[in-house]
Amino acid sequence: MKLLRAQFSNFRLLRDLDIQFSTSPERPLTVVRAANESGKTTMLNALQWGLYGDPALPNGGEGMRLHPIDWDAGRDGRRVPIMVTIEFEVTSVRRTPAGFKETRRRYRLVRSTHEDVDQDRFSRAQSSVRLFAITETGDTPLQSPEAIIADELPTELRDVFFTDGDRALSFIEADVAVSTKRDRVQRAIRSLLGLGVIKDAMRHVEKTAGEINKAARKLGGTDELGSIAARLEEIETDRDRLDGELTEAHSSHANLDGQIADIDRRIASALAKGDREKLANDIDATRKEIGKIDTQLDGAVKEHAALFRGIELARGVLGAALAPAYQKLDALYDRKEIPSATIPVLEDRLDIGSCICGESLSDSDPKGAKRRAHVCELIEKSQRADDIQKMVTALYFGSKALEPPADGEGGAFGEAYRGVVEKRDGLQDLRDDTGRKLRALELQIDDMPDADVASLRKARREFENQKDRVKFREGQIDTQLAGLVAEHGGLKERRDSLLREQTKGARILAELEVATDVSGVLKRAFDRITDEELVKVSDLMNEIFLDMIGADAAQGALIQRAEVSREFDILVFGPNGRKLDPDRDLNGASRRALTLAFILALTRVSEVEAPNVIDTPLGMMSGFVKRSVLRKAASLSSQLVLFLTHSEIEGCEAILDEMAGEVMTLTNPAHFPRMLVNDPGDGARKVIRCDCNHRSHCHICERIDDESPALVDGGDAYV
């Protein structure tokens, strides 16, 4: 998983901020430069809240205000909408007959909530989260977003993916109990193993035990009913308002689509001359081709899904499982108890109109009609007496289609599946090629000196941007609505339960004992698997750590080795195997390097492609160790996002030149005039972003203690 973009709205200092992340394999580093109190830690919290919700906030979000501290309730309303949107990309690999095939999918996650502000007090609603798959044909909401996030960024590894430089020491810090540190290391390593299945089973057993307890408790009625009813009314009002806003957004969306289509027509018309005309035709034809391929791709995907409702699937899965039933039916057949031939033979004679003996069974002949009535009577009697035989007869013949393939015959499901894979992969490759062809043609057109077309294209891009914003708003409203619906459901259930007090029966003790036993078995399995992975993390941590601090054991360095013990302690050893206490015997820089080495080793061993987002990782470091830690971290992480102060960056500029794909600066306007040269001109307490990198500053971010300003950005800024 790689982060692509994040947008923050009314999250503390981040009132309205948008950032992009570098996804380049050559330059995996994204740097957010910011002085103290400029939103670094807030952004780290906001990203975690976006992905994991309130539990990811310090102290589980208990009592923590999310809205901006200077929110003007009189002017902007008592209700503050808070939202974090994160776009990310997931790479998946699957086996194909031709080898491994890599596919990338993009998603947009929107988490929202609101806080009701009443002077110094506030209350926060439960947040809601939506996840959309982003495709070229539009955004599609996905079910169970939490499950998908948990698959990509397991909650237990949150401390590994998102690290506060100061809290990074949590694995070795002196101020916490040994058991706490062990627990942190243990949890991080266990989550690496993807032991979700066992853990889910453990949770399920615990939940079941909870349910058993709950079943025994009596509920009592309270006047809570009144406040629930009032909140339900408020929700209805908010839903009406949001529905209105959503309708408005849909209308803007449609309007913008119309304007974009109009510009496309005008561009096509402007290009319809000479070579341009040919190019325009080529583009048009390519777009149509893409449309056709997309339709075929949709069809192939549906064909793939159709495999899961076909008889081939049942045959493939069941294999020989039906053999006992076939044996039974064959035995009945051999004993001539089936097929049930009487009724079909009699029915055949009725259809033909003559008896086996040659006599007529025709209605027009009185004797024939009498015989016919007799035959019908015989059929009716047989039907009543022969229900089982009839069913078994139909089953005997009908079930032939379910028989497993004969020896040497390939499986029908596998054959159909391989056909679908070939079709899907072929079409996807074709789609990628045609997409590239279209982009090349569009570039050719853009390069042509045609001011009119260029300005039309510019206008088109503007409309596309507006449309993006409207789509974004639609997603936000959708998310808020979903949150309200969920809250409504919960409150309604609570209200109903208050009206339905009842006592359930016992059996509780016996059931609880069973739950405890099962839980014990699962836990023992869990512990055993954990131990094996421990060694891998320990070895890699040692290698990274020694490299970071430049310690060469062969040269008699003070620090010889680091390891994670079987008890999950992080240990460091000096000469002659003397044990050093990381809390006390290491300097600040080495302790930070040790924890970063542990985090990077964990990520590496897990083989999870995931970002490492670290706030102030280089504090207390200088010189060789600082540069070495930065270089090592950037080269080991698949995506490294660092929140750095100006002093952390000092001396590392050349590494950032080489390894940073995105660099931006955050500024807190409240720092003017003491720390900022210029007044950013915004009274509100909020962080402002500019595109200045580690070597430049502009009129927004220029700081009084900045020593060597140089001009960039049209005279307003300096490099």
């Binding site: 996905l142 399920h204 899904a305 899965v317 499982a321 599946y417």
Partner: protein, 151 residues
Amino acid sequence: MSDRYFNPFASVDILVPTEFKEDFGRFCQTGGRAVIDHSPFPRMVDLWFLAVCVAARKGLDPAEIDRRDTYKIIDGSIFSSDPWRVHTLMMIAISQSNDVGIVVEPRRMMSLANGLATAGFPHVMDMLKDGDAEPIWNLSEAIETLERDAA
């Protein structure tokens, strides 16, 4: 005249334990707007049916669901369009009960199938989730392997 596609399950309910409800929503396309690669089953009954087959194949005992909270995903009339499913359920019922006479007891057969589906469902979840690709690919690979193993 007898109907060779007679569906004995037409008025019998297909039940699933409530705890599986979220997973059914996640992996089935019922409700529309689903991304097929993430939600491979066209209908809930397709997931239920696969769970029955997997349980039968693995020789699992039917789970006891009478005392569990369940909900109805649909009734057996859905099999009228797929008569082979009627035959499959009957064959599974005969294999499990060792009694040919069970074919005229649709409720007993469905009760067996519901129990098997409940037992097989966690295995189907593993098939969907085990692997590095989207659920549709993971599941396809797992079924292909099952089929190959049976050959």
